[in-house]
Amino acid sequence: MLHLRTIALRELKLGFRNPWAYSFMALFALFSLALLLIQSRTGLSGYTSTTGTMINLILYLLPLMTMLLGSFSLTTEKEEGGWRLLSSFSLRTHSYIWGKYAGLALVLLLIAGFGFGLSGAIGALFGQAFEPSEFGRFLLFSALIIFLFLGIAVLVGAICGNRWQALTYGVGIWFFLILGWPTILMAVLGFLPYVWIKPALVLLIFCNPAELNRLFLIVKMGGGSILGPEYYQWVDWIQRPTGSLVFAAVCLLWILVYVELATWLWERGRRRD
């Protein structure tokens, strides 16, 4: 546990030595502020074009940021020998990877927190503030996106040998899960018999943290009915408190699976060395 904490604090320090962290922070803060100021005042609460666009902005930027910063941090250790040095101490891979995860999560949360804080405060000064409940939901949503995608990032970092490879993988996964998702699913699922489409779709959504989070947020914002009659029971169920609990459990499981998988791969690599 002490090791984990040390690694996490080291990661925090390394994270903010990295100029990428600041450029991402500036990018995120600037975009969310610009978006807030551009929109009309009409749509600052509930599920509207303004909040909908904000959701999409978060989904475009945060997963990519998370994936790049996360996987780079791990591959850098391989490339620059940081891991070689650390592994000469009695440090368990488990503590190391989870420490990395915690530290990176903190770095990304701080980036998002700074961005939201800045855009929220300046927006409010100009009379363009999200309602506090909506603001809180966006924070929670961003945090969840960070936690889940960081799981993928850590795994990518464990798989890839260098930053170039990690960049390729990261962008590829981002494109698949964010940009290409509806296109690919509509194309592939169209071949399935009609009755299979919905179950397959629901199953696949649980494999895509961006969609899972997005739908959860929309339902919690009261927009569940727009998903149509097919998902009536799902929406009804998510709206209940048990829905949130199960959702939290799914997220935890997701993180656990990915980080443990990364640990296992890393450990295997360590044995080979």
Partner: protein, 466 residues
């Protein structure tokens, strides 16, 4: 055009009638107290006050043209039938109870007046009303009615006036109570020229249901927490003016109608159901839909199989889908505001609709000649509607971040798209943009705290050397 003008004449006649009606002295009826009803009205002693008295004998004793004034605080029992023109009024807080499924009151003679009565009906059959009107020129005012069954039903009853009544489903509070277990609030069938004004209807099946009834004027009513707030079926020239619908499945539904006037209504927050809409027009022709506000609904205005309608000066804001059109043609939309809808509009199989002079808040137009209208068109991509048409399950991709990418890939022929030829640069003068949101101060404090906390943490644990 001719039809619209005739509708206007009818409307103004109605207004005149209403004005005349409102000038009647309010106390006039109470003073014309019939001697025959003395037994019921002058019994000031406490004798028998707690006893429930049957209403029918009292009605039978009231002469034609007389007034039956019920005692303050006293409980009467239905069912009762009124077959002569009398006034049934209450001196205040008189309650009519009704044990069975028969209507508490049946109006069979013309020219009956019922005022200020509390009705608590134990009927549970949603098809059976509490007050049944089968005659003409009656007035029902200030009734406070609670029932599990139907409220006030008009059957082949013409020229009646229903004003300022309050009708509430007995299951109010049970939000998920099945609609099939509730009756309609006010229900008209085969009844013409009735005026329904200023009523409040809560938690029923349909708030006001009008079928095969011509020239019904429904104005200034409020319908909440019901299936359809206002529902017109196969009725000629209905007028739906200045009503409010909130939290229903659908605010105002008009179906199979020619020459309707839907004006000045407000339909907010119809989002709970997967079929929720603010205004739903189905098979509606040559009607006028003006100055309505639909806000925060699943679909603001939904138009299907409808032609020749004119929609102007409406405010469509904060809906998931602002306007949706399916198989609608030859309709005109102008001078309306579309603001902050997640999707502003969608249309498929809808040709020849003309959009002009609307304000779209997501559109940055280009006004070269300074006439206040953009020379660039506002075009509406029907992609998502088409993509989800065959496979409902794909609705889950609504506003998915990858969707614009997909839409761009499939963007081909835009000639069939719905487009505003003359979009407005600035919103019309009547439109008031809401001033900042309520919790602005809280969000400001929250933002500043977050900013300070993250900046400090970054400095202390990240940036600083030690």
């Amino acid at each position: 055009m001719g039809k619209v003008r005739r509708g206007g004449v009818v409307a103004s006649t109605m207004v005149l009638l209403l004005l005349a009606a409102s000038n009647w002295p309010a106390g006039g009826f109470a003073e014309v107290r019939a001697d025959g009803s003395a037994a019921a009205t002058t019994a000031d002693s406490d004798y028998g006050k707690d006893r429930v008295q049957d209403l029918q004998p009292l009605i039978d004793r009231t002469p034609s043209g007389g007034t039956l004034t019920l005692e303050r605080g006293r409980v009467y029992a239905g069912p009762a039938t009124i077959d002569k023109p009398i006034t049934l009024a209450s001196a205040g807080q008189s309650t009519l109870t009704n044990p069975g499924d028969e209507p508490a009151l049946v109006l069979k003679a013309d020219g009956i007046v019922i005022r200020d009565l509390i009705i608590r009906d134990s009927g549970t059959d949603p098809k059976k009303p509490s007050v049944l009107v089968q005659s003409d020129r009656n007035r029902i005012e200030g009734i406070d009615l609670v029932t599990q069954g139907g409220g006030i039903y008009l059957r082949e009853a013409n020229d009646n006036e229903l004003r300022n009544n309050r009708i509430q489903g007995a299951g109010a509070g049970k939000r998920s109570e099945a609609f099939s277990k509730r009756g309609n609030g006010i229900d008209l069938f085969g009844s013409s020229r009735n005026v329904i004004e200023g009523n409040t209807i809560i938690h029923v099946h349909d708030g006001i249901y009008v079928e095969s009834s011509n020239e019904t004027r429904v104005s200034g009513n409020t319908a909440i927490d019901s299936r359809y707030g206002f529902h017109f079926m196969f009725s000629g020239k209905p007028e739906l003016v200045d009503n409010v619908g909130e939290g229903n499945v659908t605010g105002g539904m008009v179906m199979g109608v020619e020459g309707a006037v839907v004006e000045g209504n407000r339909f907010d927050k119809q989002t709970e159901n997967v079929n929720s809409q603010g205004i739903l027009l189905y098979d509606v022709h040559n009607s006028r839909i003006d100055r309505n506000r639909v806000e925060g609904n699943r679909v603001g205005v939904y138009i299907e199989n409808s032609t020749g309608n004119s929609l102007a000066d409406n405010e469509v804001s904060r809906n998931f889908i602002g306007m949706q059109m399916i198989g609608a043609s030859g309709n005109a939309f102008k001078d309306s505001v579309f603001a902050a809808n997640v999707i502003q509009a969608q249309a498929t199989e809808s040709d020849d609709n003309t959009l002009s002079g609307n304000y779209w808040d997501d559109f940055g137009g280009l006004d070269e000649n300074g006439d206040g209208f953009s020379e660039l068109r506002y075009e509406i991509d029907p992609f998502f509607l088409q993509a989800t048409e065959d496979i409902d399950a794909f609705q889950i991709f609504f506003q998915s971040p990858g969707l614009p990418f997909l839409a761009e890939v499939f963007r081909t022929d835009t000639s069939k798209w719905l487009k505003d030829l003359k979009p407005r640069i600035e919103p019309p003068s009547w439109y008031e943009e809401p001033g900042g949101s309520e919790g602005r101060g809280t969000t400001l404090r929250l933002g500043l705290a977050l900013l300070a906390a993250s900046a400090m943490t970054i400095y202390r644990w990240g940036y600083r050397k030690s």
